[in-house]
């Protein structure tokens, strides 16, 4: 019952948050000079005033602000995210087309970064002054400091141009024929560089944190007890210490989920990954208000779901979390 109640409260907050996201962003978009009619005319090489007025009338942009806002919110309440001005396509359709690509990229990068980061952290915590430990520190600094788009271009030059192991852009090679496995391998090859680029940033964070908490745990009493019982070092490290070091890492991973999505905007731009990030970027440039708001709405949803999953994961590794209420 308590779980349900806390869930209901959370859901209530989520709805308020979503409405705030929409209203605030709608207002901010409205404050900027110019509108989508200008970018449509840009894409067409110019348009006369008559056509501009016609476009504005077609999309209701000639209406006062509160009417536009009211119409939009009214639509969202009926689960209608509206129509993209720029692409003449329902926003929901546009987003659902792009969402899988982003989720594939973001989740793969996140899981890999988490998995490898924790292993690196653990291994280096066992010998804090070893070469590996220094390497992890270096990697952390490098991964955190290097801009994502720079890492991306560098990887492209190295692995797509100098040695042509991986394709330059996109998610699939449309000229490839063959069954499921041929396509699977194709998509996997396209994913390698973007996943490394996006993952490297978070790998740094996770490995550093895992190293620090692991070192702390290894020095605690229960570890000493376990060792005194005569358990092997591996058993102590992986069965006892690791489980107790995971919660901060998982909490961080949950918090970072939104950052992964914003990181995806840059990575997708570099690798022409056909996901939400590129769509978001292009819609902002195009002032395509319904699409931008739709993406923000979906991103907020993804973050909320991501946080809930983090909560669940925390309960699994640390039963104390649930009982605290």
């Amino acid at each position: 019952m308590q779980v349900l109640q806390s869930f209901a409260i959370r859901a209530g907050y989520a709805v308020i948050l979503l409405v705030a996201v929409l209203v605030l962003n709608f207002s901010m978009m409205h404050l900027a000079p110019g509108d989508v009619a200008d970018t449509i005319s840009q894409s067409m090489g110019g348009a006369d005033q008559e056509l501009l007025d016609q476009i504005r009338a077609d999309y209701g942009l000639d209406q006062p602000f509160y009417i536009q806002l009211g119409r939009y919110i009214g639509g969202v309440l009926q689960f209608d995210l509206g129509f993209s001005f720029f692409y003449n396509q329902p926003v929901t359709e546009l987003i659902l087309q792009r969402l899988p690509a982003t989720l594939l990229l973001v989740i793969t990068a996140q899981l890999l970064a988490l998995f490898i980061g924790v292993i690196m952290g653990v291994v280096s915590a066992r010998k804090p002054n070893g070469i590996l430990s220094h390497f992890v520190t270096f990697l952390a600094l490098f991964g955190y400091a290097a801009p994502v788009f720079w890492t991306g271009i560098l990887l492209l030059i190295a692995f797509s141009l100098k040695v042509q192991w991986f394709p330059v852009a996109g998610m699939q090679d449309v000229t490839i024929e063959g069954g499921f496995w041929a396509h699977f391998v194709d998509v996997a090859r396209h994913m390698v560089l973007p996943v490394i680029t996006l993952g490297s940033l978070f790998l740094a964070l996770y490995s550093r944190l895992a190293r620090a908490t692991m070192m702390e745990t290894l020095g605690s009493d229960f570890v000493r007890t376990a060792k005194a019982k005569g358990l092997s070092t591996n058993q102590v490290v992986y069965k006892h210490a690791l489980k107790n070091s995971l919660s901060p890492v998982i909490t961080l991973a949950g918090l970072q989920f939104s950052a992964v999505i914003s990181g995806a905007v840059l990575v997708e731009a570099v690798f022409s990954w056909p996901g939400l990030g590129t769509l978001a970027f292009q819609s902002i440039i195009a002032r395509d208000t319904p699409t931008i708001l739709g993406i923000l709405f979906f991103s907020a949803l993804v973050v909320i779901v991501g946080n809930l999953l983090t909560d669940l994961a925390l309960r699994l590794v640390d039963p104390r979390v649930g009982s605290k209420g």
Partner: protein, 523 residues
């Protein structure tokens, strides 16, 4: 007209082949050509959406009445022949008899009339068909365009991406102005061109397939054309280099163009942009402050070193441009430039009543609308400092912000890029016409007004004799270069990049905005 890049032997050899016309013998058929689009496509229906991104897929999906050869001569396409009456008021198109849409329905004069209506109602370039009052359809294969006045610009307006013939039985099911949001503009497209649509995935690719019933026997040569959407120029460059992409157009970054020129397997050419005609210029607001004095505008031209722009900023990739018309156009008349002369510049400013006071003559602003031209505006700032003009660079957050300033005349100077779009009537007049002042971006944003210029444009618009028209435009360009509502600096260095496998790459006046039915792959 054809300015070949120096040092590229391959392109010289290829141009020699091109000059002898399309190769009828010795081509291979089949294969998939992988090409690239530099930004996302908004709309595939080129009858209602203009612009270079739609132009490429649009011209493959939809045929136009005529096409142009490299010498700016109209050639038959969907119209096998045509006739312009002596008074220039009726244009008769005789359509190819066996032409079919992608759904098998015949292409008739009804579709021509319908397409003209749709373009008139939805296309941004109103001047293309404004004088067309009605279209008669005496029989299925004859369309007669009735004009209110002679309209020589119509010929170019009936070619390339400008007049896409769309099926009335598909797109005519609603109001004529609704065609621009028709659901079949981006899926289940029924076109008239050499390729039909297989798949359009927004943000990912457009895939086209050979239309077997295309009205030109044996064409197109390719089986499939893939247009991948890659917006990052650096990623595109790597993809040309490693062979992932066979061909792409509209590459405009000097650094990347020069790098790709050094790759053995690639040809990089500026040919193919004459009709689209993109030119860069420094716009000056003639209705505001010191710049309303022509002497101040001239002083600025004398202080800005075009050589620096060509060599340092464009790194030799752009051609000189001295008038409002693209240098590749038959109507181009080169004007004497304003070679740097700081003394003359200072003298003109003194004469105009702007002496140096506390180290400065005046303060002006300069705007730019996209990041690519920031070096140009920074250079102008530095150059004008030498004649004691203080310049404040105003960045705009994005295109609409800049467009707003331009459209309302809220600027002193701005960097701008404007396209000719075929005939001067379509893309040139709009910048200098005094009846088109401040009507949105790329109108006469400089508020320039000269009765003689208006008169010359009006005369040139209806002059059917080519030589007389050229003379009118020559005088027009002379006045523009003298009065400087804009200071013309260079062409936008658009380049087409293709690798050795691609033969007959599109280098005619319309570049990729024309059917690529003769392109073939040697593999």
């Amino acid at each position: 007209m054809k300015h070949l890049i120096k040092g590229i032997v391959a392109s010289v050899a290829l141009s020699a082949v091109m000059a002898t016309g399309v190769i009828a013998e010795g081509h291979k058929t089949g294969g998939t050509l992988v090409t690239v689009l530099g930004s996302n496509v908004r709309n595939l229906n080129s009858a209602v959406q203009s612009g270079i991104v739609t132009g490429y897929p649009g011209a493959q999906l939809f045929a136009s009445p005529m096409r142009y050869d490299e010498n700016w001569e109209p050639q038959p396409y969907l119209a096998e022949s045509w006739n312009v009456s002596d008074d220039g008021l009726t244009v008769t198109l005789n359509l190819v008899k066996n032409a079919k849409f992608h759904d098998g329905a015949p292409i008739t004069s009804e579709d021509i009339a319908f397409s003209v209506d749709v373009i008139k109602a939805n296309h941004p370039f109103k001047s293309m068909f404004a004088p067309v009052e009605s279209v008669d359809t005496p029989d299925a294969h004859t369309a007669v365009l009735n004009l209110s006045k002679p309209h020589p610009a119509l010929m170019l307006a009936m070619s390339g991406q400008l007049m896409s013939i769309i099926p009335k039985h598909i797109y005519g099911d609603g109001e004529i102005t609704d065609v621009k949001t028709h659901p079949r503009n981006n899926e289940n497209v029924v076109g008239s061109g050499p390729f039909k649509l297989v798949e359009f995935k927004n943000g990912e690719h457009v895939i086209l397939e050979r239309f077997d019933d295309f009205f030109i026997e044996g064409r197109p040569y390719l089986d499939r054309v893939v247009m991948r959407i890659i917006t990052d120029p650096a990623a595109r460059a790597i993809a040309y280099e490693n062979g992932e992409i066979h061909m792409g157009a509209f590459e405009s970054l000097p650094r990347i163009i020069n790098r790709l020129k050094k790759v053995d397997t690639l040809t990089v050419t500026p040919d193919g942009y004459g009709a689209i005609g993109p030119i860069d210029w420094l716009a000056m607001n003639t209705a505001k402050g010191p710049l309303s004095d022509v002497r101040v505008r001239k002083a600025i031209a004398y202080a800005v070193d075009k050589n620096f722009i060509h060599k340092a900023l464009m790194q030799g990739t752009a051609a000189d441009s001295t008038s409002g018309i693209h240098p590749d156009s038959p109507f181009y008349a080169a004007q004497d430039g304003y070679d740097v002369d700081l003394e003359k510049s200072a003298a003109l400013l003194d004469e105009a009543g702007f002496p140096v006071k506390d180290g400065s003559r005046m303060s002006l602003t300069i705007d730019f609308g996209w990041p690519g031209v920031k070096p140009q505006v920074e250079y102008v700032k530095a150059a004008l400092k030498k004649v004691n003009i203080d310049v404040e660079v105003r960045a705009s957050a994005d295109f609409p912000t800049w467009a707003k300033k331009m459209g309302t005349g809220d600027f002193d100077m701005s960097w701008d890029t404007v396209f000719n779009w075929g005939d001067p009537v379509i893309g040139v007049h709009r910048t200098y016409d005094s009846t088109n002042i401040l009507k949105g971006v790329w109108s006469n944003t400089q508020s320039y007004s000269n009765a003689r210029v208006d008169e010359l444009m009006a005369m040139a618009a209806v002059e059917t004799d080519v030589e007389k028209r050229k003379a009118l435009y020559a005088e027009f360009q002379e006045i523009i270069a003298d009065e400087l509502p804009v200071y013309h600096t260079n062409t936008l260095p658009y380049h087409t990049v293709f690798n050795d496998k691609v033969k007959n790459a599109p280098m005619g006046i319309w570049g990729t905005s024309t059917p690529i039915d003769t392109v073939w792959l040697d593999e």
